[in-house]
Symmetry: C3
């Protein structure tokens, strides 16, 4: 199979802005290579994809500390796209599918209209594995 | 190779109940598809598999916050199986092998009888890779 | 492809000593099996690879708690190699390539001379994917 046909799947669990940004960059990079990318949103990552929530401050990993906080804020002030904007761009230029985990929808008492338009649908873990096929899976 | 013959390997590092629950759901889903699943327990995840410890409260990721704590508690009160129970069920219905990392056993001063019966044995990282073969590896 | 020809890629995001130690052990194990291993350093993991920083105390995951802290300190006092030393040994015995993520270099205002000699270079996410090929990718 050609490099650009192999799907890449990311399970997003963490909802802090640093991990979401890392996930967005890995998504955009794979999409730019022409690979189908599949995101599966669980737990606190799903919470960050609620409608009107993507541009809020979701904090950073505790280890970032004040120095990390300043570094992230400075880069953002210098014009870096947010993770949500990076994902929007990746969806425009490539084949990026974002699905919410049905179990986590229950956990957070969410219905599909509660989610940001970035999210394409809701699916269970079985559907996730079938779409992932034998491509790489990254848990963030 | 058929979908249901490809092994899936999970390295469990984190020992908080939210990450363990995510790992249990990913395990159960793959096992339900007929795939062999191999769990390799390190560090704080291994600590959570000590005998008589699986049903204790292991906390949540810091980012969960009080809202996340309430959501998890509510779902549990509504009858959601714990991660340990989900793993027990996955082992009954499928091919799920759970191994403790020998280096982490040393770190935590544990011997095999100290572990929950969910754990099938102790192995080193080389054995882990050999069992993982070219299947997907997920680090949680 | 033979087991010992398949590359293994690790994206290191976290910079706490427990996660870096887990990554070093997974790297050393794969290198010992003869596999090419590729590390891609982002965010707080990259910060830990600054020159003169690898042997500092980078803390542990919050869930480690005081018991975990003591366990890690005791093992270290008993002679366990640090993660940086484990990586140095892995580079001597096997094919281990460590690259800094160019976006994270910008985030942390780092230039290549600011990094520990363990780091072989700086690359973007596209180069990372090309080097990863269809081998496993682990995000830590």
């Amino acid at each position: 199979m050609d490099m650009d046909e192999r799907p890449l799947s990311l399970v997003l669990f963490s909802g802090t802005d640093d991990k979401l940004q890392a996930a967005a960059v890995l998504t955009a990079g794979a999409a730019a290579l022409g690979r189908p990318v599949h995101l599966f949103l669980q737990y606190w990552a799903l919470a960050a994809f609620r409608r009107d929530a993507t541009d809020r401050d979701h904090g950073l990993s505790p280890e970032a500390g004040p120095t990390g906080r300043t570094a992230v804020d400075d880069l953002r002030a210098a014009g870096q796209a947010s993770w949500a904007e990076t994902l929007r761009q990746a969806k425009e230029l490539g084949d990026v599918d974002i699905q919410a985990c049905s179990l986590s929808m229950d956990l957070l008492h969410l219905d599909e209209p509660d989610l940001d338009p970035l999210v394409d649908g809701v699916e269970g873990v079985t559907a996730f594995y079938i779409q992932a096929g034998d491509g790489q899976i990254i848990f963030i």
